[in-house]
Symmetry: C2
Subunit: 372 residues, 2 copies
């Protein structure tokens, strides 16, 4: 399998959502392709941030010479998903007389994509939206699912809409400029797809960890393609997150607790990796995940430079954070739990003693920072 | 027909939009019905304004005693559809820990409904939305169509979403407190439905103008029901306003020009009435609308206390405002034109000489205010 798949060509997958279906093109050098996207309208807003735009802005605009392109930049980081920036982008669109037949192109990571998508969902009640995700996390996560949002002081992503892009373009060359931590964070989500849905893909990741760590374009194209395919299947079955879509949250309930307690030192993907290990260990303890599968998960995450131990915290602290999870129903935490490589389930969980044991076993006094 | 229809009972119509279909209940005294709506969740935000809430707020909350109800009030008037109020309503929801399983109820006119709907469309990517429109205009216009929005300094309704309510409750008793001008404005839209789509309904309006002017509950129930039915048919055929939905804009291209030039003195419904007369006269001039039909339209609007002459403005001024219309395509104005009572079409129109003649004939030097 892997040889044919590893040829360095452009791959296209279709996210099947009826009349809202759209293509994701993945490959090396796609930013230089003409046209960048099919059937773009005349008026285009390019939304990016002050880190990404200097790297790729000119390249994108060079493909759009026959269009009217206005570039709007936001600052880097989660704080940019604000009401103030939302209104500022609207100001830009209106100041330049953008009409309904315009397009918003997001060039950047998840923050740029979430804000741009929410603007596209709500400018004149909805205009065309295109994504060029430039981080691995955004490529394998935000490209599929239609979640757009901004943050509120009271919590992340509290204001937003489900809104699908018209097309997504993923140029693996963008990953060459990504820092090591953010790159590893993207791989945490890639491993997640293998664990919850595809044992064969997990084995492929094990076999190609060197290529992945070297950011080999062909390996990345396949890893991104398969990740998007798995997420697309799950989302197509459950667009509004009523059921199976929750499986995409493997490691996230624990991970969100780590992020909340240590937001300055832990990144999302790192917290998800440590959370995945806790979920896997809990199942192993209960004889519902084999020792061999547990070890394979732990080993792969380590080899992809991800932390596999959580910071030590009192159980009550975990409990407080985990009770805020959106999957809580009638006060009971619901966990995504791996029962084999390639298989997971969503289960209400009230045995906090067993949970405490698993958390303690998978925590480490020196893991207050994942970089140790 | 009219006698059976005029019985003072509750009428229900269903707006058919597949899985997003919803009922509109219309009748006298519905605000005292228990339950107000079927299957309301526990957490409810009641959004209203400082004029309407003192009149009906207690009545609504009395039907929701087993729910957690938070009331958020905005000021009266179009200025309340602001970014600042949008963010303030979000603050209220988050401060009270509203989760995804909550509902927003709009109690008020079009401004309250538009803001509440946009909040519902975007809080946590969409929560349940219910409408209790209290003005005639909101009852026959905003109840159907799913348009939600806020304003921007650069223009009305530039930020918003298409989002359908779960149910609409119309209590005709609310109209007893409405001022005469706003009441007549609602009737302008009612007459519009007759002109564009239903000659029989138009004749019914002619026959029942006295009952309508007296705000008779049974006559109102039928007039609102038929208006909503007609709008629902049009919207079901064209939810995203790609084609026939434009017919609902009869009188609006001229009307928006009058509103833009005289926003302090002309209300929307008044401007639509004067705009409808210009469109009708243009067709009459071109021998495409009979003299009799033109006179019937003019007479009915007059008898319902609506203006039938526009303020005098230089043709270039009309042109400037009309070119901003959203129906303009490739620089050419497209007009909704009545060709008979019960029938209208959308047509590109570039003969500004004929237009100028019709506008001049239907303008009056003393019509700078519609109240003359």
């Amino acid at each position: 399998m892997s040889e044919a798949l590893m040829q360095n060509t452009t791959q296209q997958i279709i996210v099947g959502l009826g009349e809202r279906s759209y293509p994701i093109d993945i490959g090396a050098g796609l930013l230089s392709r003409t046209p960048l996207f099919e059937q773009l309208p005349q008026q285009i807003l390019l939304l990016s941030n002050t880190i990404v735009e200097p790297l790729y802005g000119d390249k994108v605009r060079a493909q759009l010479q026959h269009h009217t392109v206005v570039t709007h930049l936001i600052e880097d980081g989660e704080g940019a998903k604000s009401f103030a920036n939302y209104e500022a982008v609207m100001d830009t669109l209106i100041r330049h007389n953008f009409n309904r037949d315009c397009a918003i192109i997001a060039l950047g990571g998840g923050v740029v994509g979430d804000l741009a998508g929410f603007v596209a969902a709500t400018y004149q009640r909805g205009v065309a939206f295109y994504q060029i995700p430039t981080t691995l996390l955004a490529q394998v996560d935000s490209s599929v699912g239609g979640k757009t949002a901004i943050n509120h002081a009271g919590g992340k992503n509290l204001v937003g809409a489900f809104y699908q892009p018209r097309a997504v373009l993923i140029d693996t060359d963008c990953l060459t400029t990504l820092n090591a931590r953010d790159y590893a964070c993207g791989l945490a989500e890639v491993v997640k797809y293998g664990i919850i849905a595809d044992a064969e893909f997990f084995a492929w990741l094990e076999a190609h960890q060197n290529e992945l760590n070297q950011r080999d374009a062909a390996a990345l194209t396949y890893a991104i393609q398969r990740s998007c395919e798995i997420k697309a299947e799950v989302v197509a079955a459950d667009e509004r997150e009523q059921s199976v879509r929750a499986l995409l949250n493997l490691g996230h309930t624990f991970g969100h607790a780590i992020e909340a307690a240590h937001y300055e030192s832990w990144k999302h993907g790192e917290a998800v990796a440590a959370g995945t290990i806790i979920a896997a260990y809990l199942m192993h303890q209960q004889d519902r995940l084999s020792s061999n599968d547990f070890t394979r998960i732990e080993t792969l995450l380590q080899q992809l430079n991800l932390p596999v131990r959580a910071p030590q915290m009192p159980l009550e602290r975990w409990q407080t954070f985990m009770q805020r999870d959106k999957k809580v129903q009638a006060g009971v935490v619901r966990l995504v739990l791996p029962t084999a490589i390639g298989q997971a389930c969503l289960e209400p969980w009230s045995d906090w003693q067993a949970l405490g044991t698993a958390i303690a076993a998978m925590s480490h006094p020196d893991a207050h920072s994942p970089l140790l």
